[in-house]
């Protein structure tokens, strides 16, 4: 698929320091990069720093349909960066074998919507490889990257958010970055993490998000959520592109006197319960938002856990503002999506409970 990005109304200067935003300050100079350029940089660094690392998948040779793999084949050679046949189960299965021999296999699935043929390999092989062998073998060097999420006109098969399926699989990790700078650091962590990881990239942000990204080799820790905006009245938890929508809702809520704390989960499996718990114990209210359909979505896991841990501190039921329980529609996308106003309404309902 070539260019999918469309609507001009979502130009974003990315998560600019709003009030209360905490962000680690980089001492190195950075360049303004978009998401695909930041990911590209991470891949260059990964391949450069480990000669036994490989990048492969459909169309990655010429740079990839989203340009994330630009320049890699030219720089590292076709033996390390190559196109595969059109077969997700083969791509991931092959990657597992490569990783099992101690290599870093950085696999690209062209769209998260197409990851399902590889689900057996991921669940029954990758996730259990170390455990079933008694730690004699592992495929920790495997990282699976896939673009996910709404894009304005993607419909059923170019918009899905399948993270919940994978969060149900002990043995793998699931990571979703919110921005270019985060993506580079998180991806490098995933690649170097000694466990198989599924890394979902918000395709909407490939070009739309631009941020200063340090040029050096850096990692951002996994399983550590980040409070990206401090507040006292309600905690909002999200990941990926949805955070930009949630932040807009937070800004508007603030105008009405509601102080919102916004948390980027980053790693969904294993997820940082402690950070969310501490925040909800402070605010007494929780709202979770994700694009994926609400039923069985990962928001349900967060809600149940927080209820267990914070029941007596809660002032209101946990709110979930999510995609609807339909296949991702085309014409009806604006109705399906968890929009800023849906979130804002839910914030107010929760605060006024």
């Amino acid at each position: 698929m070539a260019a999918l990005l469309g609507r001009s109304c979502r130009k974003l200067g990315f998560l600019s320091s709003g009030h209360g935003a905490r962000r680690t300050v980089s001492t190195e100079t950075g360049k303004s990069l978009n998401l695909y350029a930041a990911i590209n940089q991470a891949l260059h660094i990964a391949l450069d720093s480990d000669p036994r690392s490989y990048v492969f998948g459909e169309d990655v040779g010429f740079g990839g349909v989203f340009r994330c793999t630009t320049g890699l084949a030219e720089r590292f050679g076709k033996n390390r960066v190559f196109n595969t046949p059109l077969c997700e189960q083969g791509i991931v299965g092959f990657g597992i074998g490569l990783a099992a021999m101690g290599n870093r296999a950085i696999v690209e699935i062209q769209f998260a919507d197409y990851i399902y043929p590889a689900f057996d390999q991921i669940v029954n092989e990758a996730a259990k490889f170390r455990y079933r062998s008694g730690n004699q073998f592992n495929c920790g060097g495997l990282t699976i990257r896939a673009p996910y999420g709404a894009v304005g006109h993607g419909g059923h098969y170019h918009s899905q958010s399948p993270e919940a399926f994978f969060c149900h699989v002990p043995g793998i990790k699931v990571v979703i970055p919110r921005s270019p700078r985060e993506a580079k650091g998180l991806l490098l962590s995933c690649i170097r993490d000694p466990n198989p990881v599924v890394f979902f990239e918000p395709k909407w942000l490939y070009r739309q998000a631009v941020e200063e990204v340090p040029e050096h080799d850096y990692t951002i820790p996994l399983s550590e959520a980040e409070v990206i905006r401090e507040g006292n009245d309600i905690t909002l938890v999200g990941w990926g592109a949805q955070l930009t929508i949630m932040e807009q809702a937070c800004l508007e809520a603030e105008k009405e006197g509601i102080s919102c704390e916004l948390i980027d989960l980053k790693t969904l499996l294993p997820w940082d319960k402690e950070t969310v718990e501490a925040s909800v114990k402070k605010t007494g209210r929780l709202l979770i938002s994700h694009e994926a359909p609400i039923t069985g979505g990962f928001g349900a896991e967060i809600s149940a856990t927080i209820l267990e841990r914070c029941f007596l501190k809660l002032e209101a039921p946990v709110s979930r503002v999510c995609g609807l329980d339909t296949p991702f529609p085309l014409v009806f996308e604006p109705f399906y999506m968890p929009t800023k106003n849906k979130i804002l309404d839910a914030i107010k309902t929760t605060v006024n409970y």
Binding site: L98, N103, N124, F137, P270
Partner: protein, 467 residues
């Protein structure tokens, strides 16, 4: 030059036009020079298939050649040149003859005259036969142990000992193995002890796998044998990735993966073979075509001439072998291995055999096949007796050695069983370790909770798992 048309349909005009212009992909230099006309009005080759199409339609017929035999026409398409034919010809769904099967020893274990095979030394031949006997005895004893309730489950390799042992013998210890689940003989050949087999079957604390999986799910990194997983054919694409790694690391080794006739229907089979061919991976695909996938005979599994013909569909060199002929198996695998490594290519080996045992201890195969059929294969087509005949006629084996071996192995096996049964299970903490490299917080919390529950309700939990 006027075009001489073969038919008057516009479609055929179009084809004729295409034929006479260099409209293949790629640079002009690789197009068929001899087909170019010298007409200066000929358009240059365009890379875009759509614009080529349009250009073609706009060309004058006069630019096209004549007096050429349609049958000699050759045309570039993406993927290379193809000759044309004006006849509607389908490739038949099957050859008139089935692909012949390579064998060296006849049913009675006599060497077939003029047969080609790789010479095997006395030492190797005797070890091969001894290991086949050991495997057979191990299978029988474990099977009985399950029937007696001492083991939860077992799956035998009866009838397929030659495939297991002879293939293993033809490989080097550095070749990495991706088994299905009916290849313990490969482990045995490499030095896995009877005690180690028993430990895994009992899931005790000496099990490499730490008691996590059902019996027969062996694995040994020391012996380069990846742990068995019950999912069918999932190991095939893994083996291709491993083979690619060996090639990139310039190792003198290949990956070898085993699967059954049933496994060849799985998507992972097709994925793996295609990848192996494209990636030029040094991997051996060894299919144990034993006629049955639980109760499903091969006639319900596929309609091709077995597995061997499928290799060509992927561009893979293939051979069909008598899987019950240890010498032929050895030769085929030995030869295939050399090809795979030196030529950096995959090889498909279809080993024809018969699954004499039931699918597993959860199966009674007399419900779907005749006891006579099973008996015939066990007696008349037994891989052990054929090979035994050959090594005896080579002067390398005797009845005395046979009975010595059998009684020794039986004794060792029963002892291994006894010890494994008595050995305690792995500690409870092994339930939570190795899910990840380091247990995450949620697992540490769950272990705490389970331990508390055990304190409250000890009777709910097996007493042989130490806490």
């Amino acid at each position: 030059m006027a075009l001489r048309l073969r038919s008057s349909t516009s479609k055929s005009n179009f084809l004729n036009i295409l034929r006479y212009n260099n409209l293949g992909f790629g640079t002009a230099s690789h197009a068929a020079r001899h087909l170019r006309t010298h007409d200066p009005t000929l358009l240059r080759v365009s890379q875009n298939p759509i614009s080529r199409f349009c250009n073609t339609m706009a060309e004058k017929l006069s630019s096209v050649g004549e007096n050429e035999d349609a049958n000699a026409q050759v045309m570039d398409f993406p993927g290379g040149k193809v000759a044309f034919t004006p006849e509607i010809q389908f490739i038949s769904e099957s050859s008139k003859e089935r692909v012949p099967c390579y064998r060296v020893l006849d049913d009675n274990g006599q060497l077939i005259t003029n047969s080609h095979f790789v010479q095997v030394s006395e030492e190797v031949a005797v070890k091969m036969y001894s290991d086949m006997v050991t495997l057979q005895i191990m299978d029988n004893i474990f099977y009985e142990a399950q029937r007696q309730g001492r083991l939860s489950f077992y799956a035998t390799t009866i009838g397929e000992e030659a495939i297991n042992i002879a293939s293993a013998a033809a490989l080097s210890p550095q070749d990495v193995i991706f088994p299905q689940y009916r290849e313990p003989g490969v482990l045995l050949w490499r030095g896995f002890t009877l005690q180690e087999f028993a430990n895994q079957c009992f899931g005790n604390k000496s099990d490499n796998g730490k008691g996590r999986q059902m019996p027969v799910h062996y694995g040994s990194n020391k012996l380069n044998y990846f742990t068995v997983s019950a999912t069918i054919a999932t190991q095939l694409p893994n083996a291709v990735g491993a083979a690619y790694s060996l090639k990139m690391d310039k190792k003198d080794a290949c990956a070898v993966t085993y699967f059954g006739d049933g496994g060849s229907s799985e998507g992972d089979f097709h994925a793996a073979l295609n990848f192996a061919a494209v990636m030029e991976a040094p991997v051996l695909f060894i299919c144990r075509n034993n006629g049955w996938a639980i109760s499903t005979p091969t006639s319900d599994q596929f309609r091709s001439d077995g597995l061997v013909v499928k290799g060509r569909a992927y561009g893979i060199r293939s051979i069909r072998v008598d899987g019950n002929d240890a010498l032929a198996m050895y030769s085929a695998v030995h030869t295939a291995r050399e090809m795979a490594i030196s030529e950096e290519r995959p090889i498909l080996i279809e080993a024809l055999t018969y699954r004499v045992g039931h699918h597993s201890t959860s199966d009674d195969s007399t419900r779907y096949r005749s006891a006579d059929e099973i008996e015939w294969w066990n007696k008349a087509r037994n891989p052990l007796s054929r090979f035994r005949t050959w090594i005896e006629s080579s002067g390398w084996w005797s009845d005395e050695e046979e009975s010595d071996l059998r009684s020794r192995v039986k004794k060792e096996m029963l002892e291994a069983l006894r010890v494994a049964e008595k050995t305690e299970k792995p500690n409870l903490e092994n339930m939570f370790s190795d899910v990840y490299d380091v247990p995450p917080l949620n697992l540490r919390e769950q272990e705490r909770q389970v331990r508390q529950t055990i304190k409250s309700h000890p009777q709910d939990y097996p007493s042989d798992v130490p806490l």
